[in-house]
């Protein structure tokens, strides 16, 4: 037990130590960035090396691998600049807190969650601009999350379960607690949105895995209603957006809501759920990095229609963005599709209406994401624009995302943890429809 505690402390402590040591390079942004990338890589290596020596969370090992990996790519996608130093250090600190939540039991994990909520709320309070003004709703949602984390620690069941569920709904966005997600993705500084979009939902899923089996039926039913509403609402709102970051925020809300619907139906969060959450987060992270490439060249919050013809001027970028878009809209052979199909095939549908809404939300993604990509990449080449293809670090970041999404789309679901859901589903169907177990 003591050994396990030591190992989890090492896993969480390495990135925090990295954040501290990286402060030594504060005056040199390039070195600071390099140090942050190296510490994230060390964290990834430590997880790979120590994976057999701590308790595997119910959602499997995939989230643990994805967290440092996403930290690396989000750091790589950011150009070295003095303005980004805080976000790089914060990335390492958040990575440490995230790993702490995932690998520890309460009260340590609850305390880490509380710190994370508070830190995000504080950052949102500090960082806003004319283009993205202060959002009290968003900050308030994270404050609520922090309160819920405290309550889950202090109160007894069923209040603690409800608090944990609400906290999970803030992290893994579920209507009506989705404002924090939207605000974080649009207002957090530097590379943080592209890291947060994976980190918080993964932690939310972890909480969900703990709390879902304990919630009463009526709560699960209400959750599934909110989930369907969220999937539809997210898709509708994404269709109406012209601002890329908001579009991606609403799009990811729609996909995460689908996960909530499946989770509420099965009352569990399996490695398949982690695959969907992880790949949606990773694909959105990749798209945010791709958008960062455009922002670096043409300014913040530029209208995609004002930048067109990137396919001819930036061919490498065009190919990578196209592949990322395919992954994000849930097309095979990428991981989002694998996660989505995994849930479709493993869980019995609670209602056909719900399935229709989920599929419509899935369909809508190909409209809004494709439209965004088409506006950026195709159309006439603009003579007034200077086209510079992706830099080496940007290329590396985007390429890693695409390759990981592809690998996750092709790998068997049992790679990161054995999944019991499938055999359970088989037996359920066998009983319901009298299907012989002859396969």
């Amino acid at each position: 037990m003591k050994g396990g505690a030591l190992i989890t402390s090492v896993l969480a402590g390495l990135p925090l130590l990295g954040a501290l040591t990286s402060l030594l390079f504060w005056s040199n942004p390039a070195r600071l960035k390099l140090s942050s990338v190296v510490w994230s890589a060390v964290s990834l290596g430590s997880i790979a090396g120590l994976s057999g020596q701590f308790v595997i969370p119910p959602e499997g090992l995939l989230p643990l691998y994805l967290l440092p990996l996403t930290a690396i790519i989000s750091l790589l996608g950011q150009p070295p600049h003095a303005d980004h130093r805080l976000s790089w250090i914060t990335t390492l600190a958040f990575l440490g807190l995230g790993l702490c939540v995932l690998t520890n039991q309460p009260p340590v994990s609850s305390l880490a969650s509380m710190l994370l909520f508070s830190a995000v709320a504080l950052l949102l309070y500090r960082h806003h601009s004319v283009l993205w003004p202060m959002s009290w709703w968003g900050i308030g949602t994270y404050v609520l999350g922090a309160l819920c984390a405290t309550l889950s620690l202090a109160a007894n069941a069923p209040l603690s379960s409800v608090a944990l569920l609400v906290g999970s709904a803030v992290l893994l966005p579920l209507m009506p607690f989705h404002d924090g997600h939207l605000t974080a993705l649009t207002r957090l500084p530097g590379n943080l949105p592209s890291f947060i979009v994976l980190l918080l939902p993964i932690i939310g899923l972890h909480g969900l895995a703990t709390v879902l089996p304990t919630v009463p039926d009526v709560v699960a039913w209400i959750v599934s209603l909110f989930a369907l509403a969220g999937a539809f609402y997210g898709a509708i709102k994404a269709l109406a957006q012209t601002r890329v970051r908001l579009l991606l925020a609403y799009g990811s809300l729609s996909f995460f809501s689908m996960l909530w619907w499946f989770a509420a139906a099965t009352r569990t969060a399996t490695p398949r759920s982690a695959l969907l959450v992880g790949t949606v987060g990773l694909a959105t992270s990749g798209l945010l990095i791709a958008w960062q490439v455009v922002r670096t060249r043409y300014g913040d919050d530029i209208d995609p229609q004002a930048v067109s013809g990137l396919a001819s001027g930036m061919p490498q970028y065009a190919v990578l963005l196209s592949l990322l878009a395919l992954a994000a809209m849930g097309l095979p052979p990428f991981g989002v599709f694998a996660g989505f199909m995994g849930l479709l095939l493993s869980a019995p549908f609670p209602s056909s209406g719900g399935l229709v809404i989920t599929l419509l939300a899935w369909l809508a993604a190909s409209w809004y994401i494709m439209q965004m990509v088409q506006r950026l990449l195709f159309g006439l080449r603009r003579p007034e624009l200077r086209y510079t293809d992706v830099l080496r670090t940007e290329l590396a970041a985007l390429l890693i995302v695409v390759l990981v999404l592809l690998a996750l789309g092709l790998a068997p679901a049992t790679l990161f943890a054995p999944d019991q859901t499938m055999s359970a589903t088989h037996s359920i169907m066998g009983r319901s429809y009298g299907i012989g177990n002859d396969n």
């Binding site: 959002s135 709703w137 968003g138 404002d179 605000t183 649009t186 609402y233 509708i236 709102k237 269709l239 109406a240 957006q241 908001l246 013809g309 396919a311 001819s312 395919l326 097309l331 095979p332 052979p333 991981g335 599709f337 694998a338 199909m341 995994g342 479709l344 095939l345 493993s346 019995p348 549908f349 056909s352 399935l355 229709v356 599929l359 419509l360 369909l363 190909s366 409209w367 494709m370 439209q371 088409q374 195709f378 159309g379 006439l380 080449r381 789309g409 092709l410 790998a411 068997p412 679901a413 049992t414 999944d419 499938m422 088989h426 169907m429 066998g430 429809y433 009298g434 299907i435 396969n439």
Partner: protein, 566 residues
């Protein structure tokens, strides 16, 4: 066994040869890549021979009992249907690829384009040889995206709009396909074709859509799959993407109309045992197919641009093919799609020459206006009589007596013979115009040719059916499942015959300058209909209007729901 894998592998290699390498060797590499494409074609022919002589080939990279643990279970099931499709796709690809190398010479994006052509062939081959629904869906989806990319000239707003419309409309159909897959797995617990067919046949399941309304599991699944097939095969009302994609380079059309568009027909044939369990779905397919065939053919007649004419001709032909599926004549549909694919690829590859020639010669195509004849000769009436009445009787007698096909028990065969009569007679009427100047010699040659074509066709179709579905009981069961009520069937045949003969008479008399009394309002309707069909039923405009309304609603909703985070 490995021969099967070599077919897609060589196509992939061809794509890689075109794509990877320095720019100065671009054209040389494009030429070299033609060899692997050709070898893939030979491999497909070899596979067809192997499958025909030794039975289906199975290659699986996964354990059947754990199929769902793989996101995409990769496996190949090559039976006669797959082998025929592989041969068709690769043989058309050889021609199209070689044509494209010359056609796209010096084009700035020729490399991307040629690689995409090879990749599309690769995807098509993998799709038709899939061993399970999941793998088929994977390549089905990739195909939808490739159609978007193959539009090629993404700087041109019209092309871009067409490509986007293609992608989004196909995705609508793909979503139904996906729902079908999920439902099939939920109900029968497998996505393997053979197992799915066995379980669906052995386990009748009733699904309650809402209180008082039940459908069988097979009907629900096949209806969803059918919507998926409608998308790829451009069936009304999801046909709009096909005319919208006409800005793409000509070889793309050849590939599209000869290979890609057949995906819908292939899907229905691949799942024929499942479709055979649902009369409802087959009837829906019959109605949709008939509607598409009529509308496609009518719109084709009213177009004034060669690519659009051919595009709508394809829509009509695909409608015809789906209609054949709806009649339970699955093998005929495959025969039709092979014949149509070869024909349409040739026509598309040649249409550039026609346009070129028309620009050089102001009188091309030749106006075939002879001096109108005043009287109808005996010869004309005699030829018309033989073509329209005697030949059908002869066909019926030969079919019934020599081939021993039970006509009265098989509506599908009756309809098939009926269409043989209509299409061949129409062809002969169009060719000769039954002019009274035609000599006995010409008329005899044409009639003999007609008879020859009809009987060879009939023989070929019979042989093809026996090749594709060796079990006659299976064929009979499909026809039985698709059978319409007798009164409806007889009524349709009689009405169609009357309309056809009346139409021919009217056209013939008008072509010969005869005055036919017609109420004025009919002439008015005729003109309005012509304008309506020339504008393709204003379907594009309606879709656009709906899109604008939808976006306006979304915008209003967005504005009313903003405030919190914006």
């Amino acid at each position: 066994m490995t021969l099967v894998l070599l077919v897609p592998a060589f196509l992939f290699v061809a794509a890689a040869i075109v794509l990877v390498g320095p720019d100065r060797t671009r054209h040389a590499r494009a030429k070299i890549a033609a060899y692997p494409v050709g070898i893939a074609c030979l491999g497909a022919v070899g596979t067809l021979y192997q499958v025909a002589s030794s039975g289906p080939i199975e290659i699986r990279s996964y354990n059947l009992s754990s199929v769902a643990s793989f996101a995409i279970p990769i496996g190949f099931h090559v039976d006669r249907l797959s082998a025929i499709m592989m041969t068709l796709i690769t043989s058309v690809s050889v021609v199209i690829y070689n044509y494209s190398v010359g056609y796209m010479f010096q084009d700035r994006h020729a490399r991307r384009y040629l690689a995409m052509i090879c990749l599309t062939d690769f995807v098509l081959i993998c799709m038709v040889s899939s061993s399970n629904l999941m793998m088929l869906f994977l390549f089905w989806q990739i195909l939808s995206y490739l159609l978007y990319v193959l539009a090629h000239n993404h700087g041109h707003p019209g092309t871009l709009a067409g490509a986007f419309k293609t992608f989004t409309l196909l995705r609508v159909a793909d979503t139904a396909f996906l729902a079908g897959i999920a439902l099939a797995y939920q109900l029968y617990g497998t996505l393997e074709f053979q197992e799915l067919f066995v379980r669906a046949a052995q386990t009748p399941i009733a699904l309650s859509l809402w209180p008082g309304m039940e459908v069988s599991g097979a009907t629900a699944i096949t209806l969803l799959f059918f919507v998926g097939a409608m998308g790829k095969s451009a069936q009304f009302p999801i046909h709009l993407w096909l005319p919208g994609s006409l800005f793409a380079p000509t070889p793309v059309h050849a590939l599209l109309h000869a290979g890609i568009i057949n995906a819908g027909g292939f899907l229905i044939n691949r799942l024929a045992p499942l479709f055979g369990l649902s009369s409802t779905t087959l009837h829906v397919a019959f109605v949709i197919g008939t509607l598409t065939a009529i509308l496609g053919a009518t719109m084709m007649l009213a177009q004034n641009d060669i690519k659009k004419t051919l595009g709508f001709s394809t829509i009509g032909q695909m409608g015809y093919m789906i209609m054949e599926c709806g009649l339970g004549a699955f093998s005929l549909a495959v025969f039709h799609l092979v014949a149509h694919g070869l024909f349409k690829a040739t026509v598309f590859l040649n249409c550039g020459n026609v346009i070129h020639k028309a620009r050089q010669e102001p009188h091309f195509p030749h106006v075939d206006h002879q001096v109108d004849e005043e009287e109808l000769s005996r010869l004309t009436w005699f030829t018309g009589f033989i073509t329209t009445l005697f030949i059908p009787l002869l066909i019926l007698l030969v079919t019934h007596g020599v081939l021993r096909i039970p006509l009265l028990e098989s509506q599908g065969t009756v309809i098939f013979l009926f269409f043989i009569w209509i299409t061949s007679s129409q062809a002969i009427l169009t060719l000769t115009r039954l002019r009274q100047v035609a000599s006995w010699k010409v008329s005899s040659v044409m009639l003999i040719t007609l008879l020859f074509i009809v009987f060879v066709y009939l023989f070929a179709v019979e042989s093809f059916t026996a090749f594709l579905y060796p079990d006659p009981e299976e064929v009979a069961s499909y026809f039985k499942a698709a059978a319409l009520p007798d009164w409806l069937f007889d009524l349709m045949i009689v009405m169609a015959t009357l309309l056809t003969v009346l139409g021919w008479s009217y056209l013939y008399l008008r072509a010969h300058g005869r005055t036919i009394w017609m109420p004025a309002w009919i002439d008015g309707v005729r003109i309005r209909l012509y304008v309506l069909f020339m504008n393709r039923l204003y379907a594009d405009e309606i879709y656009q209007k709906l899109g604008v309304i939808l976006l306006r609603i979304l915008d209003r909703f967005d504005k009313s729901a903003q405030g919190w985070s914006r």
